[in-house]
Amino acid sequence: MTESYAALGFLLGAFLMAGGMLAGAALLRVRATKKSPLKDTTYECGEEPVGAAWMQFHARYYLVALVFVLFDVEAVFLFPWAIEVHELGRAGLIAIVSFVAVLMLGWAYGVRKDALRWE
C-alpha cells in the first residue's frame, strides 16, 4: 500500500521538476515584440505547406498496433505465472507452453503471409 503511494509521490516529484523547468522557461524566455504570422506557420522546407498534415495513414500501422496489443495481452497473462513458476510446477509449465504455442501459430501465420512487414 505505502509503496504505491511512494511511487505516486515520485511521479509528483518528477512532474514538479519537469513542470518547473517549463514554467521557469516561460518566465525567462524572450518574447517577440511583433506578431509574425509567417513564424507561426509550420515548417515544410521553406515551401508553403500544401494540404493538411493530418493525413491518412496505412492500415498496416493499425495491424502492427493490433498484433502488439495481442502479444501484450499474452505477456500480461504470463506475468502472474512468471512469479509462481516454481509453485505451479510441471502442470503450469505445460499449460503455459500450450498457451504460448497457440499464439506463436498466429505469429507464424503473420510471418508466412508477410503481414508483419512494413514498407
Binding site: 495513414f57 495491424l63 499474452e74 497473462f77 506475468f79 509453485e87 498457451f99 498466429g106 503473420g110
Partner: protein, 226 residues
C-alpha cells in the same frame, strides 16, 4: 482519510474526463481523453491495493488499446480537423437511459454486501496465477485460441485492403492511364465533331484504375482498338 479524499478527487476527474471523451468534437482529442480516463481508472485500482491490475491497466489499456485507437483514427480521414459528434443526437433519451442504468447499478450495489473499503491484504498476483492455471485453465487455454483468432483475422483483413498491390506497378498504371486518356480524347473527337461540348459522361476523364491492364499482362481493350 487520504484514501477517501483521493477517491473523491479521482472519481470526479474520472467522470469529468469520461464526459470529455463523449463530448469532444475531435476524434483525436476524444481518444487522448480516453487515455486520461483509463489512467485514472488505474489509479483507482492502485487505491484498492490492486497494484498488478493497475499496472496491467496502464500497460494494456493506456499503452495498448489507446495506441490501437490512435492508429484506428489515423488510418481514417476523420482526424483532419473536421467536427465529429460522438454523442447521440437525442440527448434526452440518452440521459434517461444512462440515468436509469446508473440508478439500477447504484441500488444493486447498495443492496449487496460488498465491503465499502478493502479489507485485509489484496489477493496477491501469485494467487491470480494459481487461480488461472488451476481451476480456470480451460478458459485460459481458450483465451489463447481467441487471441490467435484475433491475430489471424487482423492479418486477413489488413492484407485484403493493403498488401495486394505493390507500388512498383506505378509505371504500368501511368502508361495505361495516359493511353486511356488519349483513346478517350480520340473517341470524343470522332463522336462529336461539332464544336459543342461532348456529353458529360464522355467528357469525364477515365479513372486510372479502370484502365489497368489485366493481371495476365494482356493489352487493355481501348489500347487494342486504337
Amino acid at each position: 482519510m487520504i484514501t477517501t479524499i483521493g477517491f473523491g478527487l479521482l472519481a470526479a476527474l474520472l467522470v469529468g474526463s469520461a464526459l470529455y471523451v463523449v463530448r469532444a468534437t475531435n476524434l483525436v482529442h476524444s481518444v487522448l481523453g480516453l487515455g486520461v480516463t483509463l489512467s485514472i481508472t488505474a489509479l483507482l485500482y492502485a487505491l484498492l491495493e490492486a497494484n498488478f491490475v493497475a499496472g496491467v491497466q496502464v500497460l494494456l489499456y493506456v499503452g495498448g488499446v489507446v495506441t490501437l485507437m490512435i492508429f484506428g483514427v489515423m488510418v481514417t480521414r476523420r482526424h483532419d480537423g473536421i467536427v465529429v459528434r460522438s454523442d447521440s443526437a437525442n440527448e434526452v433519451r440518452g440521459l434517461l437511459g444512462g440515468g436509469g442504468i446508473f440508478v439500477l447499478l447504484a441500488l444493486s450495489i447498495l443492496e449487496s454486501d460488498l465491503p465499502s473499503s478493502p479489507v485485509g491484504p489484496a489477493p496477491s498476483t501469485a494467487s491470480l496465477a494459481s487461480e488461472l492455471l488451476g481451476p480456470h485453465v480451460v478458459a485460459f487455454e481458450a483465451l489463447s485460441m481467441l487471441l490467435l483468432a484475433a491475430i489471424v483475422g487482423a492479418i486477413v483483413i489488413a492484407r485484403r485492403r493493403d498488401f495486394g498491390e505493390p507500388r512498383q506497378d506505378l509505371v504500368t498504371r501511368a502508361r495505361a492511364a495516359r493511353e486511356a486518356l488519349r483513346v478517350e480524347a480520340l473517341r470524343a473527337e470522332a463522336e462529336a465533331p461539332s464544336p459543342e461540348p461532348a456529353a458529360s459522361d464522355a467528357a469525364e476523364p477515365p479513372r486510372a484504375d479502370e484502365a489497368l491492364p489485366s493481371t495476365d499482362g494482356s493489352v487493355p481493350a481501348q489500347e487494342a482498338s486504337s
